[in-house]
Amino acid sequence: MSWLDAARSRARLFLSRRASESRTDEEFRFHLDMETDRLVRDAGLSRDAARRRALAAFGGVQNHRETMREGRGLAWLTGMSLDLKLGGRMLVKYPGLTLIGGLAMAFGIWFGAVTFQMFGMITTTKLPLPGGERIVRVEVWDSKALHEEDRTLYDYQLWRSARSLTDLGAYRDAGANLVGADGGAKPEKAAEITASAFRIAPARPLLGRVLDESDERAGAAPVVLLGHDVWTNRFDRDPRIVGRSVQIGNAFATVVGVMPEGYAFPISHELWLPLRTDVPGLEPLQGGAITVFGRLAPGMTFERAQAEFAALGKRLAAEYPATHAQLQPHVLPYTQMSVNDTDMKAMMGLTYFFVVALMVIVCSTVALLLFARAATRETEILVRSALGASRRRIVAQLFAEALVLAGVATVVGLAAAQLTLTIWGKPYLEMAWGAQLPFWIDFTLSPTAIGYALALAVIGAVVAGVMPARKITRGLGTRLRAGTAGGGVSFGGVWTAVIVTQVALTVTFPAVVMLVRGESKRVASYDAGFPTQEYLGVTLGVDDGQDETLTPETRAALDTRIRTALEALRARLEAEPGVAGVTFVDGLPGGDGHKARRAEVVSLPAIRPRWVAIASADPSYFDVLNAPPLSGRTFSRADLAPNIRVVVVDQGFVDLVMGGRNPVGHRVRLVTGQAVDSNAASLPTYEIVGVVKELGMANAAMPQREAGVYLPAAPGSQGSLEMIVRARADPLSIAPRVRELAMVIDPAIRVEQITRLDQVTTPLLWLLGLWTKIIIGLTVVALVLSLAGIYAVLSYTVARRTREIGVRVALGASARRVITSVFKRPLTQVALGVIAGIVLIIVAATVAGKTTQFEGTGMGVMTLRDVALLVGYAILMVGVCTLACVVPTLRVLRVQPTEALRAE
């Protein structure tokens, strides 16, 4: 076991550094004492003389100690701590470099940590619950329609027999108006959920009890469990709330308990109602959407659970080929968004690569600065080398200096990252998702994000420290022998490439800023075709009876009731003095709520089918929006009859689909799905009865025009429901009245959101604004770095050529000639950078012009104004870069031949 012995003693020696030192001292002392004693005893020397001889025989104590230290493999450690101290001193000695280099590195680390953390939060599989990594979700994937199939209540009945999962349960979102202690009704984020949820995510209720299985049985008394915030904000923390009956929508339920603060399972819910899952006589794909969750049984793996559910899926597919042939259940980690997350992973990989690339570019410039500094310290390095320092030793020293800088940058970068996440992270994600964030999203920097930042810092230190160190120590021996300090080091092709890249980026980023700002402007000036600032968009929710236990009669009664309530709401609102009109539609103009269908003009088969945007609008829609027909007619109430199939199209449809032909009288078929359905021919056709102007059927985020098709619909007959109110004065002033009336008329109508129609694009503008800020930040960093790089190289060149310049001046060279010779190189580099940047922009613009986002926006075609802007910017860049040359130039002009010749 020799290697084991060796490893053990090595580890002991390495770990007990201090103990080893004192052990060495004690052994040496013992040895010298014993030898002295022997010499006194055997050679009859005096104690002093004996001591002297013992010391002489022992050899240099310090020398032996050093040899032993080296033997312990700790020499590098001692050396490293010294190098780090020296690095710290260098930070103070060169504050300009510390500031610029440190900030640049901090920027890279900040960017890396923030993106890593954001992706980590979105893709995390960790749940802050006991055994969270074993909690799963079962998703059914429709391989034909390529989306999730969530009407799985029937499948759920069968899944309950699965042995690989325990505590199998399900929930569904159940937005509901809750009437609070003050009598006001407000929607709360509610979930209908099975009792097993409280075993998956256990928590002691603050008051009362959680839901249990008896609450789910048919005929059980309706109960509700309140979240902490609901209890606090709506019931003033009433301690006697348990047992009281509260109104939810149009039903009443008894409060059984209050959950502790922060409890939000399954996603971000605040109100829990029992979910009945054993519905007699349920057919496949019947019933509302549910999400199924569970926990891996002890000893089970994801793979085995997946195998069992795949088998169950096959069984259902064999039994019900009509509905289940293309459905496959998948067992996923609870937090995974979708079975199909390869896109996300690819994007993640790309981003991480981009961050590392950014760090390398940033640190290359820092390397340039450190190189210039090291070059001015060439004499010191030569002396160290002459005193016996190996090349490795010198490289290690310069690496340590970069590491200290990177260390400081890491602290700054991570602090800034945490701040950014706290301030912008939450609104960013909420806006990107358009929903409240799940309870497991945590904005505190995770250990892995910190680890990633540290790795970036080390990469940065290697690029910024080792690269220049290797270059400067090349051929040290030759220089030592030749006895020349200056002139041995020069800036090679790598540095030229670094500066050129930097300048190119500095030129490119503003173009990106211009692009994003252009997008912002376009979105901000989005024309919906009517004065949006006079309109209020009210997103309504209605209890649509997705409860499977309702009889068809009850459901029909509920539908009638909702429709009557909506009509009543319209009538009451129109009677208000501030209201000029009320109408309903299923997607707000300019928003992204419009459905897409493929339109085939059946009466003109030569026309290529095209994707169009669909809206289901109340017959009053065009009147309220003040859009009279351009030809034909708009809807009347008679068009709501079930056997009448008419549509109104917009001018976009005329131009994009009909090629300018008058569409009135033609028939159109609207096809769903990815491919043309085989049974498309059996779908009904609609007669186009009129044309209106474009009324915001295109999503404000997209630059293209859209073809719009309107179907007549009575309010409440469609899934999503938006009410549009035209106001006589400021629309927002009538918002409270809208809420009030809705509640009075029917608690089953929930007012979920109220926006002025010109503010539909506000979240998008916020996002674009944030990106503009980030890119401006990038530009500033790139600009500062290029300037610092050019300055460093030039100062170094001037310092190195002082003697030569002196000689040239002494020989009568004019100042102009001297400056030209010094300037030629940096100017060439800047010029190359600017050209590279412009080429990059043109290539990017051409490529972007071919993508769908910028299709038809003229992105690929540069206007004269764009070209002028770019050229102007390029001139500005050259000017600014020239500024970086001012100080070194003044230094050149101040060179006195006599001094210069004496300089070395």
Binding site: D5, F30, R38, N63
Partner: protein, 111 residues
């Protein structure tokens, strides 16, 4: 390049001497130096201290171990002891040393 083999040979022989000494009995550094001095006829005469890096090296290689102990006159000292792998190494080192010495002897005899 001319100096290195000599140093290696010296170092090799010192290692061998230390291992040989410790194979007889555990001993502290000064004791080893006295013993090596005796049997080597002065390899360490000038530089007793160089024994300690050698001891450290052998310990690092797992050929010997060390522990604190007390001498006859009640002083604290570090005692070195040969390990099983040390004994094995000593065996093979001795073997190769003998072969080397025999070869050298043969060469010297012919010249």
């Amino acid at each position: 390049m001319a100096i290195r083999p000599q140093t290696d040979a010296l170092r090799g022989s010192l290692d061998l001497l230390v291992l040989k000494t410790l194979s007889l009995a555990p001993m502290h550094g000064w004791g080893i130096s006295q013993r090596v001095q005796q049997i080597s006829d002065g390899v360490l005469e000038v530089n007793q201290g160089s024994l300690y890096p050698a001891l450290q090296r052998l310990e690092k290689d797992g050929l010997i171990t060390s522990d604190w102990g007390t001498t006859d006159n009640n002083r604290r000292a570090r005692y070195y002891r040969i390990t099983a792998s040390g004994r094995k190494a000593l065996g093979s080192e001795l073997e190769s040393w003998r072969r080397f010495a025999a070869g050298l002897e043969a060469v010297l005899r012919t010249s």
